[in-house]
């Protein structure tokens, strides 16, 4: 249990800046998910906290003291790696006990701690096996066990589920969350999977090209994305984004010749004609016989719901998520409910909230 604070944490690889100054404050016991596309610097951020990389600038405060000059071993942080990084020649027990042995923990204390961690993870019958005799999910559990027995101040997870098959991933995801809540250890979790990010995190930090874009609870990120990048990244299928312009004195937007949507939540700042990006989530699009015509390109039935991908009259790609089965025919009529509309500035990509 510890608090973690990052202050203007920066990292350059040669002339390339990978992280442009991250500020972050985590409460004790919080689970924060760092999410972003590959190459956004999220793994680098984790490795800086772990001590596997040396920061170019900034401070890392663990429980109020700067750990940046410390070796990884001295930071009291445990990490779960993407490929598990289990010691192939050691048994499951030895894999978990190794860190404790190095720290000089007494033999019977090691036994108790490993046994209780194994119990918690359902690994007791496997303690004498070697990693190669385990399935992917079991290896994943051993990697978590190795982190748990250390009773560290901080857990770091580096895409721990990406090597598992889809079903196991869902199962392990729930297990990680349960475990983290139960042990109440402050945790940083890196993933590119937005479902993992939404379900696991108390808060999300969305990174884009080495800059923090939004730091908020999952629902806040989903409902009020800070910019078009976050809007497109979080949510599946991704949000429909299309160009528009401000009109009617800031109370409405016009898009693709003639379509007008009046804002229900108030007027946006700026002169008429200000370039906007409008966003609407596929699940919020309404079927409306009086609406626009959507030429259907592709239908993806997901069982309980159906995703329809088509083109608007102006050729813009547009997706719709419908409860139930797909509509018959080659086109359908849809409308955009103003209540679910997201408005962004076209130049900066930033969210544009009602003025006043």
């Amino acid at each position: 249990m510890a608090s973690l604070v990052l202050e203007n944490l920066r990292k350059n690889f040669g002339a390339v800046a990978v992280l442009h100054g991250i500020d972050l404050a985590m409460a004790s016991g919080e689970m924060l998910v760092i999410v972003g596309a590959s190459g956004c610097g999220k793994s680098t951020l984790l490795r800086l906290v772990a001590g596997l990389e040396v920061p170019t600038g900034g401070r890392i405060l663990l429980d109020g003291s700067d750990v940046a000059p410390l070796d990884p071993a001295e930071r009291d942080i445990a990490m779960v790696f993407q490929n598990y990084a289990l010691y192939p020649h050691m048994s499951v027990f030895d894999n978990m006990a190794y860190g404790l042995r190095i720290r000089g923990v007494a033999k019977d204390a090691i036994r108790t701690r490993v046994d209780s961690a194994a119990e918690m993870l359902g690994l007791t019958p496997l303690l004498m096996r070697k990693p190669r005799q385990l399935s992917g999910g079991q290896r994943q559990r051993v990697a978590m066990g190795r982190a748990i027995v250390r009773q560290p101040k901080l857990f770091l997870f580096d895409e721990p589920l990406s090597n598992l098959d889809a079903k196991l991933r869902v199962q392990m995801r729930a297990e990680i969350r349960r475990l983290q809540r139960r042990m109440a250890v402050t945790s940083l979790y890196v993933t590119h999977d937005q479902v993992e990010a939404m379900t696991l995190g108390d808060r999300l930090l969305v990174l884009h090209q080495g800059r923090p874009v939004q730091l908020a609870t999952p629902m806040e990120v989903f409902e009020n994305p800070a910019n078009t990048y976050v809007a497109g990244f979080i949510g599946a299928p991704s949000m429909n984004l299309f160009p528009a312009a401000l009109s009617h004195g800031g109370t409405a937007a016009v898009f693709s010749p003639g379509q007008v949507i009046a804002f229900t939540d108030g007027r946006r700042p700026g002169a008429d004609g200000r370039k906007l990006i409008l966003g609407i989530r596929p699940e919020h699009v309404a079927i409306d016989p009086a609406g626009m015509e959507l030429q259907i390109d592709l239908i993806e039935p997901l069982g309980s719901e159906t995703v329809v991908i088509g083109r608007l009259p102006d050729g813009e790609l547009f997706s719709v998520k419908l409860p139930g089965a797909a509509p018959a025919g080659e086109s359908m009529a849809v409308s955009i409910p103003a209540a679910h509309l997201h408005v962004f500035d076209a130049e900066t990509g930033l969210r544009l909230d009602p003025a006043g």
């Binding site: 596997l52 790696f81 289990l86 010691y87 192939p88 020649h89 860190g99 190095i102 190669r132």
Partner: protein, 276 residues
């Protein structure tokens, strides 16, 4: 059709095996024959069981021109083991440094090691002799082994092996609190055990078969290796007791064969257990 090719392949295999076995069998059977008979060219393929005593005799008493074989076997074994272990220790350490640490002139160091690959023992034998002579190591056991220990090949092989070890393993060990020595001892060496075993076999045989360097550096009969000993036993045609030479050759063959057979077990075990 398939059965016939199998049968044919088997025949070729047997012929090949026989071809390799024949000279060895000739030496084994020749070692038991009467020296005069061999000198007359009557080399029989059937061993004379009563002649087996020659082995005990060469082992303990030696032959004209050379000491007892047990002593030469000890020298050879000592030399081969020192070379094999020395080479492995030095190359593991240098490969570890080159593969896992960042330091100035790392690649320069690596390339200097690499370049020495192009200079075999024979080429650098005169300067090496001078160095050993200046150090006063002529006719000593260190003089016999130390110059042969430095090895670019083994360093190169270990570097490749170490590079194939995932970085995460090193990082996980660092998070667990293992320093560089502990990582080497607890993780890297066990993980590379199969490679070390394979290399040990090759290096042992290399050390065992050394001829030119021992010939130059050790003139003291006490430091005669078995390979040198065999050559010394061959005097003029009429005086050479060929059965004793052949018996010594058979004895010289045994330790490398034993090492190969023993290590093969470990080698295969290492291969099947290895999981990187």
């Amino acid at each position: 059709m398939n059965g016939r090719t199998d049968w044919f392949a088997h025949l070729v295999l047997c012929l090949g095996a026989l071809l390799f076995l024949l000279p060895i069998w000739l030496v084994i059977s020749g070692s038991t024959l009467d020296p005069a008979a061999i000198a007359r060219g009557e080399l029989s393929l059937v061993p004379r069981l009563s002649g087996l005593g020659v082995y005990a005799s060469v082992l303990t008493q030696g032959s004209p021109g050379a000491g007892p074989v047990w002593r030469m076997l000890m020298v050879s074994a000592g030399m081969a083991l020192a070379i094999a272990f020395g080479k492995i220790i030095i190359s593991v350490l240098s490969a570890y440094a080159v593969a896992f640490f960042r330091f100035p002139f790392r690649m320069t160091a690596f390339w200097i090691i690499f370049i020495t690959l192009m200079l075999p023992v024979e080429v650098r034998i005169i300067p090496t002799y001078t160095v050993m002579s200046n150090l006063g190591l002529i006719n000593t056991f260190p003089g016999l082994t130390v110059p042969l220990i430095a090895s670019a090949t083994a360093t190169l092989l270990f570097r490749q092996t170490f590079l194939a070890v995932p970085d995460e393993l090193f990082e996980a060990a660092r998070m667990d609190g293992a320093g560089p020595w502990r990582f080497l001892r607890d993780i890297l060496l066990p993980v590379s055990a199969a490679n070390i075993a394979a290399l040990f076999v090759i290096l042992f045989v290399y050390g065992w078969n050394q001829y030119l360097w021992p010939l130059l550096v050790a003139t003291d009969p006490k430091l005669d290796t078995i390979v040198i000993g065999i050559v010394k036993m061959i005097g003029t045609e009429t005086q050479t007791e060929w059965n004793r030479v052949m018996a010594t050759a058979v004895l010289a063959l045994l330790p490398p064969v034993m090492v190969v057979m023993l290590m093969q077990h470990w080698f295969v075990k290492g291969l099947t257990e290895g999981d990187k």
